[in-house]
Each structure stands twice: as C-alpha cells, then as structure tokens.
C-alpha cells in the first residue's frame, strides 16, 4: 500500500479511537458483547466446518460438500447485503475525491473494505482451510484455491455495491431498481426452498455441471489442478475485477445531486399525498399533530426510509413466500402463520431506520425540539405515532399482496398477526426511545445503503430480539400445547399490559434523559464519519 492508503487507514484508526471514549461504557459493552456473540457463533461454525473437512477423505464426497457450501458462501456475500440494505464499511468518496489520490489506490482500498460485507464467510473459509491442512488425504496447500474465490467475491461485491448505490440514488429508478435487484437476489432463495433442504448436499448435483466459481474452487481444493479449472477461476476473477473496476469508475464520476434532480418535481402541496400527510393534524392536537405530520413528510422523502419500507413488502414477501406456500402443501407453523413472519420482517427493517435511533434523520435540526415550546415526550410520541402509521400501512400492503397471490389470508390471521406485531412494535419503541437518547447517531437520510455491516446489525438483534420475542413465542407455544385460543389471547393480553406499562416507563425515562443529555445528543447527531464510513 502507498503512503496515501496508509494515511487513510491511520485516519480511520484515529477516528475510531477518538470515538470510543465518547460512546460511553454501556455502548461499548453492548457493542463488545454483540460482536463477540455474533463472530463467536461464526467461529463455532468455522470449527465445525474444519472438523468436517478434516474427516472427509473421499475426494468426490468433499467436492459434493464444498460445492454447495461455497455456493451458500457466495450467496451470503452477495445477497445478504441486499437483504439487509447494508453495504458494510466503505470509503467516504465524497470527502476523499478532493485529494490527488490515484484511482487504482482507492479501488484497492474499497475492494479490501468489501471484506466487511461478509467477514463471517472469511472466518468460515479459514475454518475450511484449517480442516484441509489437518486432512490426511489432501494437501493443505490446496487451500490456496480459496484465495481467488475470496477475490472473486470481493470484486463482484464492489461492483454490485457501486451499481446499486448509483441506481438507488436515481429518484424514479430507485424503487424499480430495488424491485429488480430483490427479484434477482431472491431467485436462489426460491430455488433453494424448492429443493428438499434435508438433502441439501444434492443441490450441487442438481445444478448444471458448469465451471461455476464454487464448483471450480471445490475441484481445486481436492487437488484437481488442471488447466481447465485454473483457467476458469482466472476468468471468473478477471470478469469480477473488470465489472468491479468499471462500476467503481462510474461511481467516481457519479453526481448524486444531478441524479436526485433528474426526476425532480416541485412539491406544490396540492396533491393527494399532501392531503394524507395532513390527516394526523386533523385528528391530533398541536403540537403533536404538526410533529407527526412533519415526520410523515420527512420520512417519505428520505430514500433510506423509503427503501426499508419498500423492501418490507417486496423482498420480505419474496424470501418468505416459498415457506408460506409450503414445499409439499403442508400445514406447518410457518404455512399457517406466514403473516406474522412477513410483518415481523418489515418491522425489523423499519425499526433499524426509525425506531432504534428516532432522532437520526433530524441530525442538527433536532435542536428545534429543545428550542420550541414542546415537551420532549411529545416529540418521542410523535415519532412513534408516525412510524406506527407507516407500519400499519405496510401490513395492509403485505396483506393485500398475499391475498392477490392466493395465499390463505383470513380475517382472523390478519387480526391476530397485526395484534402480535403491533405489540412487538410497542416493545421495540420502548427500547428504541431509550436507545435514541442514550446512543443517538446522525444518519444521512439520502444515503440509501446502511453503512454499518450486516453482521453488526444482526449482532445487536441477536441480543435484543430474542428477549422481546419471548412472550410471543411463549403464547404461540402455549396455544400449540393446550390447543386453545383462549390461552393464546390471555397471554397476549398480559403481554399487552406489560408492553404498555414498559412503554410508559421507558418514555418517561427517555424524555427525562433527553432533557438532561441535550448537549451530548446534539453533538452526537451533528457528527460525521472518518475516511471510512463504518
């Protein structure tokens, strides 16, 4: 790496180091526990893979194992970021473009940062390499074949990220683009679900025997170093490099403002959408009404929020539909309760952008809540009401789409799923209001991608979601065991009481903390990133 590249790495290290003491001990603790849990789990998976590879001495069997496993790794690397609307860490090109840095250096750094999109897969591949070294039959040196596979994924991931970033910044093309991308991304998922997962090793056999990167890599791993395999892998890496570099160069020349303005239109305030925005003001007294109206308007105008909202009823449906239809027409829990799953997934996406960090999109403008004669609990409630309205709309859209697709959508199922998910939302908002004032973070509403890694996001969910879901899981379990709706609704009613009480207590605490921590909150919301947005 050159001096400039080291300078970027150095500045990012300093930025992270400077940030840490200001995050507070609690924030650091939660991050550390989440990270350890998440990557710890993947380390266990890697050890299991290592043991499996060590014990498999039959070449055909090892190829049969590795082929599908590498296909899954490829899908994880390329599909999960799309699913979580998360691109991992990336260079702050807008800020670095002003310096005389050769494009090749920036490209190399950006490619290296793509490891953050799926660091989990690097851990698993490391496990497979260890297994290969310990395998008595195959040479450990064959593990070098994982390197071009990783390189292929890094280049491809760089290209996909840049392509999507540009696509998602075009106002009119954004939603259509997302739909196309999620359709493409969901195809493997649908295909996988169509196969019997109990016999997943057979997937490789069912796929056409072409020189895919995963099949070629698995052949190389088992020692089949011939010109065909090596040539095929070189070709894959070269194609991925050319695609990545081409998209990266286009990304460097991309003008976000021009793209956003390309389909720009005047907001004259006289259309039907505007009348919808005004509805809360008619039903709620000011200042609550006007604050809800402001939230509805600004959230709908934020690409980041719109994508999360759109993904809820597009990608969510696509990935869960195969399960909802059932593989062999069965009537398992998923088939009968698919609406709860679809609603929960959309709630998960919405919560990330507008529940955990309710002040994020406001950034410095949030100071208006401390300057205007409004109570801070009103501010939090107004944001919660706005997101609740969006969530209700999202559930309605999902229901209609499911009904149109011919799924068994009964009134009882809609009512029950809505009730359960609205209660989940209340729990999330209780925790979210607290996290919003104790760990606020400025978010760029125009930034379509989530900059943090999908892994970190999932790490946090790993801690909080199981806790919040526990009462609901218990209610469903109880209904299954006692075969009684009364038991189910009794437990849900009890959960509702707990949720409301918890929400009230958390709201009071959050409003109090917002008053006491105003300076810290505003400083945190005004802050930007280092050379690498992570």
């Amino acid at each position: 790496m050159t001096e400039r590249a080291w300078a970027i790495v150095w500045a990012q290290w300093r930025a992270l180091r400077n940030m840490s003491p200001r995050s507070g001990l609690a924030g650091l603790f939660v991050t550390a526990v989440g990270t350890v849990l998440w990557y710890g789990t993947w380390t266990v998976v890697a050890l299991a893979v290592a043991a499996l590879v060590r014990e498999t001495v039959d070449g055909e069997k090892l190829r049969g194992l590795l082929g599908p496993a590498l296909l899954l790794a490829f899908l994880y690397w390329q599909v999960i970021p799309v699913m979580m609307v998360s691109a991992g860490a990336s260079l702050q090109m807008r800020r670095l473009r002003v310096y005389p840095i050769p494009r090749g250096e920036l490209f190399t750094l950006e490619v290296l940062l793509r490891v953050t999109t799926a660091a989990e897969m690097v851990i698993v591949l490391a496990g497979a390499s260890i297994g290969l070294f310990l395998n008595p039959k195959f040479s450990g040196l064959n593990a070098v074949a994982f390197f071009p596979f990783i390189l292929f994924n890094l280049y491809l991931s760089t290209g996909i990220r840049d392509l999507l970033t540009r696509l998602l910044n075009r106002r009119k093309a954004r939603e259509i683009g997302v739909l196309i991308v999620v359709l493409v991304a969901a195809i493997p998922q649908v295909l996988l679900m169509r196969y019997d997962l109990g016999n997943w090793k057979g997937i490789g056999a069912k796929l056409p025997h072409l020189a895919w990167p995963w099949t070629v890599t698995s052949s190389l791993i088992t020692g089949e170093w011939n010109a065909l395999n090596a040539g095929a892998m070189v070709c894959w890496v070269a194609v991925a490099y050319l695609f990545g570099r081409w998209q990266f160069e286009r990304g460097l020349r991309f003008d976000e403002e021009a793209a956003r303005a390309s389909a720009g239109k005047q907001r004259d305030g006289g259309n039907w959408l505007d009348r919808l925005y005004r509805l809360p003001s008619a039903a709620l007294p000011d200042p609550l009404g006007t604050m809800v109206e402001k939230e509805l308007r600004s959230l709908m105008r934020s690409p980041r929020f719109r994508i999360a909202f759109f993904m809820g009823f597009s990608f969510g449906l696509l990935i869960w539909l195969p399960a909802a239809f059932g593989k062999r027409g069965g009537s398992g829990w998923i088939e009968t309760n698919f609406l709860v799953i679809l609603f929960s997934y959309s709630l998960l996406l919405l919560s990330e952008v507008s529940i955990w960090n309710v002040l994020g999109f406001d950034r410095s403008a949030a100071q208006v809540y401390w300057l205007a004669p409004v109570r801070l609990w009103q501010m939090l409630v107004s944001k919660n009401i706005a997101i609740a309205l969006f969530f209700v709309l999202e559930m309605a859209i999902i229901t209609v789409v499911c009904a149109l697709l011919g799924l068994a959508v009964t009134l009882k199922a809609v009512w029950e799923s809505s009730l359960v998910c609205l209660l989940m939302m209340v729990f999330l908002m209780a925790v979210g209001n607290l996290s919003s004032v104790y760990a606020p973070r400025g978010v760029d509403g125009n930034q379509t991608w989530k900059r943090g890694s999908a892994g970190r996001f999932q790490a946090m969910l790993l801690l909080i979601y199981p806790l919040l879901l526990l009462p609901f899981v218990f209610a469903y379990w109880a209904r299954q065991v006692w075969e009684s709706d009364r038991v189910f609704y009794g437990l849900i009613a009890a959960t509702a009481v707990v949720a409301v009480v918890l929400y009230g207590l958390a709201l009071e605490k959050a409003a109090q903390a917002a008053g006491e921590r105003r300076e810290g909150i505003l400083t945190a919301l005004a802050r930007g990133d280092g050379p690498v947005a992570a």
């Binding site: 992270l16 400077n18 670095l96 310096y99 390309s262 389909a263 720009g264 930007g528």
Partner: protein
C-alpha cells in the same frame, strides 16, 4: 507549465440538474497571482461552479482548464496544486484539528513527520493551539473554517479555491485569514473565493465576477466596477435586483 496561462480558464460551462440549468454557459478567466471574488445571490450557481472546479461535480458541457491543465485529464496534477476550503461537510469530524491537517498533508504526498510538524505549526498560526485535543465535530463554525484553511495551506498550493471561507468566522479570525491569504497572493498564489461578505471582497479582491442564474452578469477589476460613489454592495444590488420588502403582511 507556461506561467502566462490563466490560473482558471472556463469556457461555455454548463451544469444541468434535471431540466434546470444551475450553471448556464459560464465563461471565466482568472489571471495568475490574482485575488478573485466570485459573487452572486443564493442559488445563482456559485457553489456548483466551485464544485466543478474542485472536480467534485462533472460539467454537463464546456471546458475547464486549471493552471494550464484541462479537467478531467489533468485531474491528479491539478488536485495536487490546489488548496481547497470547501463547505465544512468535507471535514472528518471524528479527527482532531492536528490529525485532520496531518491527514490532508499526507493525502498530498507529504511525508508523515513533515506533515505532522507542519500541522502543529499551522495550528499555532491559526491560533487553534488551545483546541488541539478537541474533535473537529466539537469545533465552532469559525474554528472549522480556520482548520479547513490551515489544511489547504499544508502543501503550499498555487491556487486556492474557497467556498465562503469567512462564514461564521469572528473578526480576529477573519483578519488572520485575510492576512495569510494576502501573503500567499504576494508570493504568487491565486485565490478564487465565493463570499456573501461584500465588504471583505471589496477590500481584498482585485477582480470580481457576479453570477446570476448561472451566467456571469458583471466581470471586471474593482476599479472598473466602482465608478463614482457606488460601493460593491450597491453594484451587487443593482445588478442582481433587490428583493422588495412586502408591506402587505399586516400581522408582521
């Protein structure tokens, strides 16, 4: 590189957002060693122009030549010879002042120990020594401008491109910054700045251009423009057209 070429030469520059031209057939010639003021009302196209000069936005059409090299072909060489004071969003807020200046220096290819030493000296020069340990995110607006200007000086550029460099800066800071810039011009550098503070432009700039709706409406030396008793503010208001105070708002 020939020294007789202008510092900035812009020909028929256009930048269109959607169907609205932000810059519409702009022609500009900034001589070397000149203190040049680029003025205009809000939304006139100043920032879009300066962003195109900085290489942050691509023109829809037209040509830009900086220090004798054309953009985008000579992008790397041009960037290494210009000092930027862009809007404050380009600062890294999780770095301290000295860290950011050192980072900027290293981006311009200055060796780390030299960049560190210069960063320390520039912090002192801009009277920021008391804020050495603070993050830029915790700086006031004026301090951010000072640190941005300090970073723009670290590689001794031939041309300064500055977007509102005095915005939010107190009188002492503004004087300091003006003195440093004047000294740079005396040493042969060129300064191209946008500013809403007309008094500052009037006092510092040798030449001025006023842009409105993406086109240059007035361009010339200060002595040419200031005929008679008119101040730069009078000229600006006359050319751009003053907004009328509405007396129809009874409640106001």
């Amino acid at each position: 590189m020939a020294q007789d070429t202008p510092a900035i030469l812009v020909t028929d520059l256009r930048k269109v957002y959607g169907d609205k031209p932000a810059v519409d057939g702009l022609n500009l010639r900034v001589p070397r060693g000149c203190f040049y003021g680029f003025l205009g009302p809000n939304g006139a196209g100043k920032t879009t122009t300066i962003k195109m000069l900085m290489g942050l936005a691509a023109p829809t059409s037209g040509a830009i030549e900086i220090l004798g090299r054309r953009l985008p072909e000579g992008e790397l060489e041009i960037k290494s010879r210009i000092g930027l004071v862009p809007d404050e969003t380009l600062l890294f807020e999780h770095l301290t002042g000295p860290e950011f200046i050192e980072f900027a220096g290293r981006m311009y290819g200055i060796a780390r120990p030299v960049a560190r030493e210069r960063a320390r000296e520039l912090m002192d020069l801009f009277e920021l020594e008391g804020a050495k340990g603070k993050l830029i995110g915790e700086y006031s607006k004026g301090m951010r401008k000072r640190v941005a200007m300090a970073a723009s000086l670290i590689h001794r550029p031939d041309l300064f491109l500055m977007d509102e460099p005095f915005e939010g800066v107190d009188a002492v800071g503004a004087r300091l910054m003006k003195d440093i810039l004047l000294d740079q011009v005396r040493q042969g550098a060129t300064v191209f700045l946008t500013s809403h503070v007309l008094e500052v432009v009037e006092r510092l700039c040798e030449r001025v251009a006023i842009i409105q709706q993406g086109r240059i409406v007035v361009e010339g030396s200060m002595s040419e423009l200031r005929s008679g008793e008119e101040t730069l503010e009078d000229i600006f208001v006359r050319v751009v057209g003053a907004g009328r105070f509405s007396e129809s708002l009874d409640w106001l």
